[in-house]
Subunit: 382 residues, 2 copies
């Protein structure tokens, strides 16, 4: 059926994604001018760079979220993470944006750490490993700066009892055929992974209010199951706001992956490593020689340093305009834009590491003792 | 393949079961004279009626259990129950026998109440229902008289967090194809029921010692999965001791079912109801008229009152011999043996209800505060 040169499923992103087409394929909505206006009314004209630049570009029911907010019913945010050995820049994107939404709308955030899924999905991993990764990843997430009294971070293996009655109610409404198609599973898939979709859906029902999930658009199919069954259980269909993919360092296609080290910049990479990775591996849309670059300029569509600056690192629109014009015209060379990026990345990482050093102290607040966390441990969801 | 007139799977028992053939089909062992002798050494010649009468007739690794016991490594017992609206006499069989084994060997007993399974297996049930049934069933189980400091009764929905890491390790080793074949599931089965086998297996690994499971032989296939994977996780293959099926009241075939009310005597049935059910519905092997019965005698093989007496209710071997001889010869009439049975059943039920009145007081001990229960709540199994 798909004659395009790209492929987007929750477990695979390849090729140069045509996001307009993807919106049609998935049946989601573009973020319209009127939605942007509604957000800016609440944010008092501050607008997150990822919205301004159209990185978050698609949604489901975001209009209903804003309506619920305006009319006092409120909403809540849900995101999550399958713990991995190290987090890279790409992993930060949904958390940075979620934190901004929390700041603007002053709402609860639930962050599910799927240590069970990670363990069951990979033959070679042990629970000890995934548990240690979970701890390390949580420290990185805390460093993003969520409100400790309105954010609950939980590991599935720890919070399962509180969720389990509702998990069972959801599991009862999903059969093998459904999760097979949606999650790319088959008869050789282990029963833990077959069951896991029910656990992923539960947090969308942590409150009776509507849930908004910020995530890359490849995650959308997972939530279709939720949207099919939520109302039969007395909850809202989950709303979503979708981002494009931050391209991996070494190619303008696909998405960044932890399993290809040179394609990613890790949050733990020291400045020299960041600089080396960007200078050496970052895929360039610049010309092969200085002469050609001066003459023809760079192809911004495939240039990774340019795109990283655009996506995350250069928030100043004026400065971004300058880079765009100079680099595309050939006034700026590849080495120069790479240097700009390396410096910006290192600034963000230094800031991140400073906050991360404080994370351990905040750990029990986000997981057990903050205002929201405490409430959540007292609740059995059923 | 199966040319017999009976069928035994964990979810269906039909026809007149040939237990000798079943042992061959399932590949289990007969309980041998030497095993009986070994048990009697510990029980000091007391022998449970269900062993004397060969109701518990088959096993896996019971010899290893007895060896572990003799050599000081010990073992533990595990049984369970999917809660139902009411428990009938047939449901008591494994509990009565398990209690006897606990008395003789002074070992821990774990009783899993699978409220999650019951809920997920039946579209029409609510969690509120299965939870209420769980409570009522637990009171009946407590009334059997287990040692409150060596018995832990738990509901899956409550104890799931303590089990979950180990559940995940087991789930990771079972795939759809395996549980499909063993549990009679298919692609339309809900993912909760597909996952459930991992939860059923976990209690076999509650201790490093060997686990013995007393159950009707139709449950054997469930444990084959456990036996395939237990050693890879550092645990023993579960041992089993298998009973025959108590025939339903109204037929000598199959097994008693809660869903056919007249086929079962409930633990809550008042004396008049018991008498009426037995006199009216109990399938008789006696002759159609008094004259024929006097002349030909009864067919004990199909006579349900006779079999119930033999299985459970007439523990006195001399008295049983007398009934056998008089009923098969025609000296005893159908009405007479039914009266004997009704009286015996009512005696047991009266005794049971007396003890059940005390159960509520013991409830928290078996579930939370007894010596074993306390230990279990402090443990995360991984």
């Amino acid at each position: 059926m798909q004659e395009d040169n790209f492929k987007v499923t929750p477990w695979e992103v390849t090729g140069k994604v045509d996001y307009e087409k993807l919106i049609q394929q998935f049946g989601t909505q573009k973020i319209s001018e009127s939605i942007m206006k509604d957000i800016s009314k609440v944010s008092r004209d501050r607008m997150h760079v990822m919205l301004r630049r159209n990185i978050f570009f698609s949604h489901r029911d975001l209009d209903l979220i804003l309506k619920d907010y305006r009319e006092g019913r409120g909403f809540f945010l849900y995101t999550g993470r399958a713990p991995s050995m190290g987090m890279h820049i790409g992993h930060l994107v949904p958390f940075l944006f979620t934190k901004w939404l929390q700041d603007v709308f002053d709402v609860n955030v639930y962050i599910e750490i799927t240590d069970d899924e990670k363990f069951m999905r990979n033959q070679e991993y042990t629970l000890k490993q995934t548990s240690e990764w979970a701890h390390q990843n949580i420290l990185d997430i805390i460093a993003v700066g969520f409100n400790p009294d309105k954010t609950f971070i939980f590991k599935d293996t720890e919070y399962i009892r509180n969720m389990y009655p509702l998990v069972a109610s959801i599991a009862k409404r999903l059969n093998f055929s459904q999760v097979k198609a949606t999650f790319g599973l088959d008869v050789s898939s282990n029963i833990g992974i077959l069951f896991y979709p029910a656990i992923q859906i539960v947090p969308t029902m942590f409150e009776k209010a509507r849930c908004l999930i910020p995530a890359a658009i490849d995650q959308d199919p997972y939530w279709r199951l939720q949207r099919d069954l939520a109302e039969s259980l007395g909850y809202h269909k989950a709303a979503e706001i979708h981002s494009k993919f931050l391209p991996p360092l070494a190619s303008s296609d696909g998405k960044m992956s932890s399993s290809v080290p040179e394609s990613a910049v890790y949050l733990s990479d020291p400045p020299k490593t960041v600089e080396k990775k960007i200078m050496k591996y970052a895929f360039s849309g610049g010309q092969a020689t200085t002469e050609l670059q001066r003459k023809l300029g760079a192809d911004l569509n495939v240039d990774v340093p340019y795109q990283w600056l655009y996506y995350i690192f250069e928030e100043d629109d004026e400065e971004m305009k300058r880079i765009t014009s100079e680099y595309s015209s050939g006034k700026m060379l590849t080495g120069e834009i790479k240097k700009i990026l390396a410096q910006k990345v290192n600034e963000l990482l230094e800031e991140h590491r400073k906050r991360r050093d404080m994370s351990e102290k905040m750990y029990s607040k986000f997981l057990y003792e903050g205002k929201l966390a405490k409430q959540m441990w007292e609740k059995i969801h059923s």
